[in-house]
Structures are given as structure tokens and as C-alpha cells.
């Protein structure tokens, strides 16, 4: 057992740092050439970095003053891109991955629909084969970065005669195809259109946009969500990203707010939780290095870190009292790091209700942990075994 993190003189670190010294202010395309935007992926895309090497590379990217690639192009690099390595055809990899790794082609994830996000298997968007292409019709919603994205990872129903989870397929679509309409939705922070709704109206996509085989959709999507959640165990304030409880404590001490007796104990609690999440992240890394099958990580880590982030952001806000209710990005001092949109406590706080909604709601995650980790009986779903087309109401009609 050894809890020491790779040191300053670690040869892997020295090598990466030397490159950054020779190449100050690199573009992400340059980082991608080094294989560092998804370093854990195999060559030629990444450098097959083990978890520890990946950790070093990421630390050095941050040290060089850059935002981490997988927060810039999260859907491609953290969630969905890996599916192309396992399920994709070589032509698909050549077509989609270089742009994704260079952070030039932003991806979005077209999963949730107005009729439901938790019950993803009940989705109504259809993709019908028509010669050498598919025709897609439907309505997606809550799609983060769809307005900037050039590639959409779409889940659609290809066979309504099968039960709901069985007739789904995944496609990689060009977001600029005719028939795709993206409408931004302003979220409650009012800062930015965090997500969008996407109308798919007779969108014609080539048959080779299909990832894996028809009917593989559910399996691929579950893999993607799992990868996504593992990344979210990290102790950052929103979905594992942004400042941590260490940064919070630092700020509270620097500003003297820590001496408020009504805040002090809660701050300590959150600090300790943050340290534990950090340890769990490192334990996940160890398991990956040692090839130990993933046990608790993923859903359980997100189950713990999402409410932790909410408590953390709340304390940052509480430290300001009524003044914190005025729009003000400088709630507490933060180290000079690039965390993307969560680089200030004010935004992180108003964003934090989303922590326990996106990428599986807290309720759904608690179910997943209870069922998959603890082995408790599955929740019953009366619609699970019935052919989708026989389900009553609008569901069946939409699928026809």
C-alpha cells in the first residue's frame, strides 16, 4: 500500500513537462498529436496510459494553464468516444476521432426526450432503414452543447416490435444535416444556454452512421453512462469538475469566514467528505492499474459526489449571507486554474441543483447501487417485457 502520488521527479512527469516547456501555449490539436487529450486510449489515438500516467498528464496540462480536454469535449472524450474503439468500424474511427481528439469537433449526446429521461428505454425517436440510409424522426431535449456540436450521438428506436430496451440503436449523426433544428434552452442560472432541444425531422443519415449493430443501443448507452459516471466521482463541485472542498476551505480560511461558528462545522464535514472522494478516485485508479474489476466506482461514486458538491456550493454561498444573493462571481478566492464554466462559486452554486439530475438522477443512482452493488430486488417495470409497439397510449403510436 502506498498513498504517495507520483512526485515532481517522476520520469513520466519530467518528460511531459519538458514537452510543455518546448511548446508553450499548445493547441489541443498539438496535444492530440502527442496522444494526450485521451491519453488512456490505445495508440494511435492515445498513448495507452495507465491510470497513474493519465493522472500525471492531466496534472501537467492543468499546470500548463490549459483546461482539461475532456471538460471541453466531454461527450466525445469522456463518455461516448470510447464506444468507437470497442463497437465502431475502422472507417468510423478515422472519420470521427481525429476531430474529436483535437477538440475541433464538439460532440453532444442525444438521449433524453420530453417524455422521459430516467426511463431512457422508453424513448420514441425512430430511425427507419431506407436503402443505404436511415430516416430519423423525433424530439430530443436537455442536450448539452448541441448548439456548438458538429457530431451527435443519437439513440433511436429501430425496431418497435421488440420490448423497449431491445429495439434501440446508436448512430453518429452530423448535426448540420438538413432536418436538424437546435433550440437553446436557458437554464435556471441564466448564464448560458446549458442545454437545448433538438428536433429531428426526416433527417436522412447514411447507413454507415450506425454504431455497432442494430439493437445494440441499450448496451452501448449503458457502457457510456458508466464511463461518464466514473469520471464524476472526483471531488469537484459539479459533476466532479471545478473547485473542491480543499479550495473551499482555503477560501474560508483566507477570508476569515471559517471563524463563523454556524459555518465551521459544516465546512469541516464537507472537507472530510471531499478528502474521502479523493481517496475513492485514487482507489478507482488503482483498481484500473491493477486490472481489478470495477466494483463500487461509477454509479456509487456519483451518488456520493453529487450531493457533496451541492453541500459544498451551499457553504460557499452561506459564507456571504445576503450579499451572496447578488450576482457575483467572486464569492471566495480560488486558485488560478481553468475549470471551464465552473470556475466560480456563484455559478457553481446556482448550477448545483443539476448535480442530482443530469447523468442519472440521484433517485435512479440509489436504485442502481442498491440493485447492482447490494443485489436487492429490481424495481418492477410493467412495460419492460412487452413489445414496444403494443404499449398503450402515445408511446406505441409515436413508434409507428
Amino acid at each position: 500500500m502506498d498513498f504517495n502520488l507520483p512526485g515532481e521527479d517522476d520520469p513520466r512527469r519530467v518528460k511531459v513537462r519538458a514537452w510543455f516547456e518546448k511548446n508553450p501555449n499548445p493547441t489541443y490539436a498539438q496535444l492530440a498529436e502527442q496522444g494526450w487529450t485521451a491519453s488512456n486510449w490505445p495508440e494511435p489515438w492515445g498513448v495507452s496510459a495507465d491510470a497513474e500516467t493519465q493522472f500525471i498528464i492531466d496534472e501537467e496540462i492543468v499546470r500548463a494553464g490549459l483546461e482539461l480536454p475532456y471538460t471541453i469535449n466531454a461527450i466525445a472524450l469522456n463518455q461516448c468516444g470510447q464506444s468507437l474503439l470497442t463497437h465502431g468500424a475502422e472507417e468510423q474511427r478515422q472519420k470521427f476521432l481525429p476531430g474529436a481528439l483535437a477538440c475541433e469537433d464538439i460532440w453532444c449526446m442525444l438521449f433524453s426526450e420530453p417524455s422521459g429521461g430516467s426511463d431512457l428505454g422508453g424513448l420514441r425517436t425512430t430511425a427507419k432503414r431506407d436503402g443505404d440510409h436511415y430516416i430519423v424522426n423525433g424530439h430530443k431535449i436537455w442536450t448539452s452543447v448541441a448548439d456548438e456540436a458538429s457530431v451527435g450521438v443519437l439513440v433511436a428506436r429501430t425496431d418497435a416490435s421488440k420490448p423497449k430496451h431491445m429495439g434501440l440503436s446508436v448512430f453518429l449523426i452530423d448535426m448540420h444535416s438538413p432536418g436538424v433544428t437546435v433550440n437553446p434552452i436557458i437554464d435556471m442560472t441564466g448564464n448560458k444556454n446549458e442545454y437545448n432541444e433538438v428536433f429531428l425531422d426526416n433527417v436522412k443519415i447514411p447507413a454507415d452512421a450506425l454504431l455497432g449493430r442494430e439493437g445494440d443501443g441499450w448496451r452501448i448507452v449503458m457502457e457510456q453512462l458508466q464511463t461518464e459516471r466514473v469520471g464524476m466521482t472526483k471531488p469537484g463541485v459539479v459533476w466532479g469538475m471545478g473547485p473542491t472542498a480543499r479550495d473551499l476551505m482555503d477560501g474560508l480560511i483566507k477570508t476569515g469566514r471559517i471563524s463563523d461558528p454556524l459555518l465551521r462545522d459544516d465546512a469541516a464535514k464537507v472537507y472530510i467528505e471531499g478528502e474521502i472522494l479523493r481517496l475513492l478516485t485514487f482507489r478507482n485508479m488503482t483498481n484500473r492499474i491493477n486490472g481489478t474489476p470495477a466494483g463500487f466506482e461509477g454509479s456509487a461514486g456519483k451518488m456520493m459526489s453529487s450531493p457533496h458538491g451541492q453541500r459544498m456550493a451551499d457553504i460557499a454561498k452561506r459564507s456571504q449571507g445576503a450579499s451572496g444573493m447578488i450576482r457575483d462571481p467572486d464569492v471566495l478566492p480560488l486558485p488560478n486554474k481553468k475549470w471551464g464554466m465552473f470556475s466560480n462559486w456563484d455559478y457553481a452554486y446556482w448550477f448545483s441543483p443539476a448535480n442530482t439530475l443530469g447523468v442519472g438522477t440521484q433517485e435512479v443512482l440509489l436504485n442502481v447501487v442498491a440493485e447492482r452493488v447490494l443485489g436487492l430486488p429490481r424495481d418492477s417495470d410493467p412495460t419492460a417485457k412487452v413489445p414496444f409497439s403494443e404499449l398503450s397510449g402515445g408511446l406505441a403510436k409515436a413508434a409507428e
Partner: protein
Amino acid sequence: MNFALSEDHEFLRDSAAKFVDEQVDLSPLLRPGADVSDAGYDQLWDKIVELGWSAITVPEAYGGLGMDYVDLIMIIGETGRTLAPSPLLGTLSGAWAIEKAGSEAQKSELLPKLAEGLKLALAVADENGAYDNMDSDVTAKPSGDAFKLSGTKSFVVDAASADKIVVSALNEGRKDFFVIDRNAAGVDIEVLQWRDITREVCKLVLNDVEAERLEQSSDDVWPWVRDRMYLVLAAENAAGIRMVLDDAVTYAKERIAFGRPIGAFQAIKHQLANIAGSAEGANAIVQYAAWALSEDDGQGSLAATMAQSYTSEHYKEATHRNIQVFGAIGFTWEMKNHLYYKRARCNAELLGSPASQREQVVRMLEQEAA
């Protein structure tokens, strides 16, 4: 970096598990009115000594096994999981006080006896449970080559069954550490009606008791020993959380209500999923604290304090949830659920509350920042 247990650790844990599963029997405690005297901890102690656990962290130079704190928590995890009643905690605490406060000669004399089964206790808290009282604590008066101690200590774990007791006492405005014989003249020990009946906790009244001063006594001794005691309690807590979780999960799969196992209801599922989170977190922070103390890495004290705070808070919660999941049967004396509930509650007070440890954590961080 490697956050995994080694094969040696796993082997140690598995053999400890086998031992406690065979030897620990809580059933005599499940009769209404039972107390710690029914816990049968003398028998278990003899076997623990045979295994060498009584001297597990004692350096090899003093006849111990010289193992580190990660090894220690492999064993404490198992004794904690089964609430194994024995004077191990008292003995470990006394041994650490001697290791830190004793002179070379004192260590050479006392520590080797641990491997032979010497039982120790450590008396620091006063009658009110305060560990830092500088007013009306036990006082030490010089008497020839030795000292005489008078006053009252309380919340002394395993004092009644100890052979020797290490006592902190006021000596010229300092808190020094002294060793007394349990059977010396003037020692009066009352076993308290401590609610955790798997543990012997005592009050100690000393009346001109002959005592030997530990010659390296200093202000650093108590914090050093306390961090290790935090670790032991935290390791018990972490293992206890896992145990009551597993028990509740098993029960939730068997007990039927409204035609379904109660574990199919989300109100139950979600409680158990949350406990699974605390169990994992508790395990991680305890292992980290054990490693940091073993490595003397500078974060050891912070880690041990965090570990005790987090695990005892969550152990309380988990044992309460465990009773809730069992329903009324879980509230009876004849079930062992209450033994865990009481262990958790008592562990969360014995060395101060989780909130008091959080206060320590913040102070350490403030100091670091200053």
C-alpha cells in the same frame, strides 16, 4: 501509488476473520440484563495473546511483532466487525503511552511483557470525560524515588482487568504519564454501567497510589497516542458499518411485506445504498489514516482525526438505519442490532464527539495555512 491491500494484508485479515468467526460468541450478551461480565473476554484474550496480537505494533526490539498500522487495522477490522470483547483496546493504548513516554529502560522492562499477555489500560480522561483538564485532575506528588497519585479518572477502557495502568497526572503544572499496578494499595476501580456491554469501561479512584513516572513524558505524548486510538476506533467503526449494512441487506432480501421482499421498496433500498456509500468511504479513510501514521507522513494526525470523525458519525447513522430496516424485532435485546447501535454511539463519545474532531481538523488546517 497503490491504494490496494497487499496479499500479506489480505492474508492477515482473512486469518483474523477465521479466528473471530470461530471464537467470538455474542449470544451470552443477548439475554436481557447481560453486562460486560457475561462477555467472556478473558478466554478470548488468552487466544489473542497466542496469536501475538497483544504485541502487534510493539517494535521487534522490545519483543513485539513490529507490524505497522495497516496490519493493525486488518485485525481491528475483524474484532470490530464481531464486537469481539477483549482488553485489546486498553492494552494497545497503554502500550502506545509507554512506547512514547517511556525511557529506554522502561520500555525494555515493560513492552516485552506484552507478548506474554500483560494487560494494560490508559487513564487520561477526568470524571467529566475531559482529556485536557489542568485543574482538578489526578495529581502526582514526589515520594522518595517514586510518586504518589491521588484523584479520580474515568472512562478508562479495560482498567478492571488490567495488570498495569498508565495514568496521566498533574506534576508541577505539566501532564506527565505514570505507571501504577492495578492491585496497588489505594486503587479503587468501579466498572461503569457503560451502555456498550461488549466493552469494559471503568472509573478509577486513586488514593496515594505508588507510581513510576514515565521519563520521556511530554506534551506530545497524548496527541500521539490519541491519533492511534482514533485509528483503532475508526477501524472498528468502518468494519461495523459494513457489518450492519450486510445484515440489513440480507434481512431486506428475506423479509416479505405486501407480497414483496422489503428490499424491493425504494424507501429501504435508498437507505441501504447510502450506507453502502458511507461504508466505502469509511474503509478508504481508515486505510489512508493507517498508512499515513505508519509512514509518519505528516498528514497522519489529520487523517486519523478525520477518520474517527467520519466513521463514528456514519456508524451511528448506519446502526440506527439497521434497526429501522429490521422493524420491531431489531429493537429487542435478544437481537444483536442493539449491540452495534450501542458500540457506535459509545465509540462516538469515548474520545470526544465527531464534532469535536471536526473542530480539531479545522484547527489543523488553519495552522497549516498560517
